[in-house]
Symmetry: C2
């Protein structure tokens, strides 16, 4: 069965059983989300950070402290994502398939919108998605744009990149713009140097995507931004998803579409 | 000088000097906001409450703990609103002109969107605003609709009411809907009993507004909702504005308009 045809429940079963894969293209029609779980004493600063940097950090759902599911995610947050990244003192210390042992009772899980959610709409309008064609993870980059800080939290905006044929740039901007809760329109179109990205071939997260002649790189705010802030701010403990390996939610992508 | 023509700075000077008046109609073209300041240990629950009940509690700005101004409010939050309501253990204990003595260093001020902000747009489209005609405060009501709780915080949705001639109901809905960050379109049109409001003549906050033959009552989510939650939840200490006596912000109403 094509992974695009799986329900969120079936996909989560496979991840729980140990399958590890970027989730772009999985569960067509369902919303995907970034996970960032922090100790309760940091929850306010993180929620305010998300509010102040809403383009990168649109909050879809927040769980109770210690809970392993949320209203919009019916699986088990400790096992049902394909892979996780554990942070201690701002450093990634482990990329793992589950975090049952690491999930502390004071952890507050936040689910943040992900641009994978509007890729079905891009394809439907004829906009190709290179990392889907390549079968790779989307490329993500730290930028030179600082987020607005919140308390002890600060860090750079992270972006995802999709190369788009010049004639389809306007379409890609318009279509993604209809999904403001999953990052909406690109934050930048064109020259990566404008964002302080020296080389598209070396993403900070995920895999490189080939940019072909006549294509323009489009950059979308990315829900890995909170993880970049965890790192930049030396946070004592946090658990995120492994970038590109998302939580597949029990809510349709159409539920986040604005307009026709 | 007509109060509609005042700048936010001038209006705040007058409030600081002791003038007390509902702010509907003041400072035409500028955004107005609800104030709710809570101790830092409650800030997370309140911010999450606002997120979960965003129609009633759109967060425009959040100050640092103990701060008396925010990015979008250049005045002094302790003196520059026309009046305040102080809460202890969930009870309003004082309606006062300033809160200099009460402003604790652990208080986090939240500024929440206010529907006064779109009244200029209603007038511009020919929709009359009764409380402006009457020179009174807008009527506000507790409803039978519970908010989604957050931690220890729960309470009813509060609404403001404006009677609108039947022929202009669609216009009023459309125009206010262009301002989603200041409550947007009404949550209810028509029969107040649907919201559990027994008698429009006895608002829970503000003054009654005459509903004339051929007019329909329109109900908008109201930024007094956090104060209703403070009361319903027995919060130890909080400071709000006196309902209808808003913070006048240094940001234009047009900045919150979506579309043409």
């Amino acid at each position: 069965m094509d992974v695009a045809d799986l329900t969120p429940g079936r996909a989560r079963e496979r991840f729980r059983a140990g399958e590890r894969a970027p989730t772009a293209g999985w569960c067509r029609g369902w919303t995907q989300a970034n996970l960032i779980a922090v100790p309760k004493e940091l929850a306010y600063e993180l929620l305010l950070f998300a509010h102040r940097n809403a383009r990168a950090c649109p909050v879809l759902d927040v769980g109770e402290p210690g809970s392993v599911r949320t209203r919009l995610f019916g699986g088990d947050l400790r096992t049902d994502l394909p892979a996780y990244r554990v942070y201690r003192n701002g450093r990634p210390v482990a990329d793992v398939d589950q975090v049952v042992e690491d999930w502390r009772p004071d952890l507050v899980p936040f689910l943040i919108g992900c641009s994978f959610t509007f890729e079905r709409a891009l394809l439907a309008e004829g906009v190709p998605v290179r990392h889907l064609e390549q079968g790779t993870n989307v490329p993500m980059y730290r930028t030179n744009r600082p987020c607005e800080p919140s308390g002890s939290l600060s860090g750079p905006l992270v972006v995802s990149m999709r190369p788009v044929p010049e004639a389809l740039v306007a379409t890609a901007v318009e279509v993604s713009g209809r999904y403001p809760m999953v990052h909406g329109a690109p934050v930048h179109v064109g020259d990566p140097a404008e964002l302080g990205i020296a080389d598209l071939g070396w993403p900070d997260f995920g895999d490189p995507a080939e940019v072909r002649p006549g294509e323009v790189p489009l950059f979308w705010a990315c829900g890995v931004t909170p993880q970049a802030a965890i790192m930049a701010s030396g946070v004592e403990f946090a658990i995120g998803h492994l970038p590109g390996h998302m939580a597949i939610m029990d809510v349709r992508d159409d539920d986040y579409r604005v307009g026709p």
